[in-house]
Structures are given as structure tokens and as C-alpha cells.
């Protein structure tokens, strides 16, 4: 009953959303080159299903690769900032400034730097756009560790590494996963940005672009929906990991 509810409620919400969309297009009498309706989409999927599969895979693996890099380097950066006040003071303005630069402006820069390395550029962009929340959350998590937590192990002569492994690291996991959820969707945006903007791109972004150049509007909308589905899949994959590694932080629900 409980699990049924958990599935039924979001499914119902999505159905309502689709119905409203269909109704809106029908009521306004929009032709599908102004706004496609949900009923136009199955045809697009049926016709281009193999392109969708290939595109989804390309988009997904490059996003995940970029995200993995963001986790690694973001955590590293966060650790440096968390343990050293000097590093924190030095890096914060740089990071904030970098994060404020619209990433679309970096696409031509990367394209010139690494000509023709489309996969590399895409992964790099996914990484660049998504490491910031991870670095900040790990940094803050470590620097705000209450001194008592450190003292119970330090008074026993434990090394800094032991304290990090046994206390600081697990204690920052909830913040880390909070940031990872944001980063997962950001990485997705980064991947698509490169796919759509750069010529001869791959993945779902490129499929979107070809829909646009061929004036196939239902295809464009079908790509948007596919992107949304991929985003949801990635997000819930992170949620599942969070349950496994930081499930203790969840309060029992009554």
C-alpha cells in the first residue's frame, strides 16, 4: 500500500501535467510547428528510436564522466579549503568568480583549445559546470566540524588521517550528497550545452539541433522530454546512492 502510493502519486502528477499540456495546445489550436502536443511525440520516438538510443547513451556517459571528475576534484578542492584557512581565503573568490562566468561562453574557448576533441570537450564542460557545489559543501562541512568531534579522537593520539576517515568524511556525507544532486543536473546542462552549441555535436543535444534545422518540431519536443527523463534517472541514481551511504542522516518518518 505504502509503495503503491509512492509510485501512484508521481505517476498521477505526470499524467495530469501531460493532459494539461495536450489541452492547452488543443484549446489554442496551435499547429505543431508552434507547439507540439504530447500526442505528436510517439510518432517522433517511433521514427527515430535508434537515434534516441544512441544519443541518450552519448549524453548519459559523458554527463556521468564529467560528474565523476567533479566528485573527485570537487572533493579534493573542498578538502583543501576545509583544512586550510589560507587555502579557503585564497580559493573562494577565484571559485565564485569562475562559477559566475556563463558556461556558454566557454564552449568556443574549449573548442579552440581542444579542436575536434568533442567527447573530451563535453566531459570537461560537464565537469566545469558541476564541481563548484561539491567543493563548497565539502569545504564548509569540514571547516565547521565541531571541535569536540575532533577532540574525542585526538585525545587518544589519533592521526589527522584517521580523524578524517572516521569522523570528518562520514559526517560531511549528507552535505556532499545534497550538493551532488545539484551537481548531477548541472553536469547534464553542461553536456547539452556543448552538444547543442558546437557544430557536428553528438548526443541528444545534436538530435535537438537536427530537429531544429529540419523544422521537425515534434522531434525537438521529444528530445526535451527524453532529456527530462534522463535527468530524472540520474537524479534518482544519486538518491539511491545517498540512501546507501548516508541513509543514517534521514530522520525516521512518522
Amino acid at each position: 500500500m505504502q509503495t503503491l502510493k509512492k509510485i501512484a502519486i508521481p505517476v498521477l502528477a505526470i499524467s495530469v501535467f501531460v493532459a494539461l499540456w495536450e489541452l492547452l495546445v488543443w484549446a489554442n489550436g496551435w499547429p505543431n510547428y508552434v507547439m507540439a502536443s504530447p500526442s505528436d511525440l510517439p510518432e517522433a520516438y517511433a521514427r527515430f528510436w535508434n537515434l534516441f538510443l544512441i544519443g541518450s547513451w552519448q549524453t548519459l556517459w559523458r554527463t556521468v564522466a564529467g560528474l565523476a571528475l567533479a566528485v573527485f576534484f570537487g572533493t579534493l578542492l573542498g578538502m583543501i579549503m576545509g583544512f586550510s584557512k589560507i587555502a579557503r581565503d585564497a580559493l573562494y573568490p577565484l571559485l565564485v568568480g569562475f562559477n559566475a562566468v556563463p558556461k556558454a561562453t566557454l564552449v568556443p574557448v574549449l573548442a579552440l583549445l581542444f579542436i575536434g576533441q568533442h567527447n573530451f570537450n563535453t566531459v570537461l564542460m560537464a565537469f566545469l559546470i558541476s564541481f563548484f557545489p561539491i567543493a563548497v559543501s565539502v569545504g564548509i562541512g569540514l571547516s565547521t566540524l565541531e571541535p569536540e568531534y575532533r577532540d574525542i579522537l585526538r585525545s587518544l593520539g589519533a592521526s589527522r588521517i584517521t580523524i578524517f576517515r572516521k569522523i570528518a568524511l562520514p559526517k560531511t556525507l549528507p552535505e556532499f550528497f545534497g550538493a551532488l544532486k545539484v551537481s548531477a543536473t548541472l553536469a547534464f546542462i553542461g553536456t547539452n550545452l556543448v552538444e547543442i552549441i558546437s557544430p557536428h555535436g553528438r548526443g541528444l543535444g545534436a538530435l535537438f539541433l537536427s530537429g531544429q534545422t529540419n523544422s521537425n518540431y515534434p522531434l525537438m519536443f521529444a528530445v526535451l522530454i527524453a532529456l527530462a527523463v534522463l535527468g530524472i534517472v540520474l537524479y534518482y541514481a544519486v538518491v539511491a546512492l545517498e540512501r546507501i551511504f548516508a541513509g543514517w542522516a534521514e530522520r525516521p518518518q512518522h
Binding site: D151, S155, L173, W248, A249, P252
Partner: protein
Amino acid sequence: MTNLIDIKGVTHAYKTPNGPLPVLNNLNMAVPEGEFCAVVGPSGCGKSTLTRLVAGLMKPDEGEVWLHGELVKSPRKTVGMAFQNPVMLEWRTILENVILPLEIVAPRMSKADKTERAMELLALVGLEGFENKRPSELSGGMRQRASLCRAIVHKPDVLIMDEPFGALDAFTREDLWQTMHALRAKEPFTAVLITHDLRESVYLGDQVIVLSGRPATTQFVLDVQYPGDGLRDLDGLYTPECADMLHVLRDQIKIAQGREPEEAH
């Protein structure tokens, strides 16, 4: 009998942007092995600094801290600490929390032995049956009980407590005082207890040290003569003997705070 803790002429100041802030000034303290020493004093007088010095977490500017005949220069494995915040690791069960110090101090000890040792203590403080619960499922008093178990699981020479009962309600606090006596009866240890509660200091302490206002120095030492023979019960707190001791301490605290003591009763 030799003293387990000897603090000789300790003076310490923290560096702040506005110049040095002296917190301890020529503080002396001696705790014989097995004794329970309660430390009281006005707020902010440097009591927590004292715990960090004994634990070897910091070094004094001047003076010496001796533990078991050795000069303390760095953290040692032979202390246990408990704070006002029980500092439970939320991702571990109660049992795993209690075992934590053993993982550092006795890494070679088998898992079964660690568990047995922890369970023995958990039973002593009345937490049997809760060992597999998460800290968030326990009340504040129960978490503090677990925290005490963790502080002595590795059989430290000294148990250092910084207001461990401060955040608990009055009845839970009294329960924990009795638990403290029960623990000492089974597992003799030397203890330093920082507290704001004079009744607590008299009920638990063999000696009560009153620190002066900042910078703290040893102002007064009370040798506790608890009424009754051996076992202390809570009713003893309401006897004239205890009332007298509490009055003496109260007057000393007033002096420490820089106020005149009330007329003698």
C-alpha cells in the same frame, strides 16, 4: 599515595586580535589515583582550557601537567573524554560508537572482544537492548550514558568530563549521577569533572576545587565528607552536613565572581 594528576603552576593565555587573553594564572591541582575531582568556578573562567591541558590537546605557556608521573606534552591514549554534547557519531550504532576508542587504542583487539567489552559497559549504564539503535533514536540522557561508556571503554587512567550533565533535565541528571557512582564501583578510574552544579560537585566529588574568575587560579579546595558510610545516596544531599558544604562552596563562588559572601549562617 602518589598523585595521578599533578598540575603545577600552570599559566596560559590565548592569542586574540586584541592582545593576549590570560585564562589560567598559576593554577595548581593534585588528584590522587582513583579520586574524583570536581572543578567549579564562574562561567568563562577557563575550566574547559583545563580539560584540554590534562588531555594533552594543548600545552600551557608556563607550568607543568603531570600524568602518572610523566610530563604531558602531547595527547596520550590513557585519557577518556566526555562533553556536554554527547558527540555521538550519527552514522554508527550505539555499540559502534562505544567501540570507537578501541579502534584507535587497540587496533589488534578482535571484534568479538571489543563488542564484549562495550556490551559489559552498556549493561552497567542500563543501555542493554539499545546497542543496535542509532543515536538519533535515543533520548538525550541515553546518549550521554553511551558517551560515558565510550569515554571509559579503553580503561583510561583519567576520565575528563566537561559538564557532561549540563544539558539534561534535573531528574535525568540525578539518574546519571548514580550511574556514575555505579561505574566507579565496578571500574575504578580517576576523574576530573567540570561542572556548574554545586550539588553535583558534592555528590560526585572526593574533592571540589573552586577556581577564581578569569584568569583562573586555584582559589579553594574542599575535601568532601559525604554523610553516610561508603555508598552515597541522593538523600545525603539534604542533610545538614551537605548543606554546610554547599554554603561554603557558594560563598567561594561569590568571592570568585568578585562579590562579597553573604553573612555566615
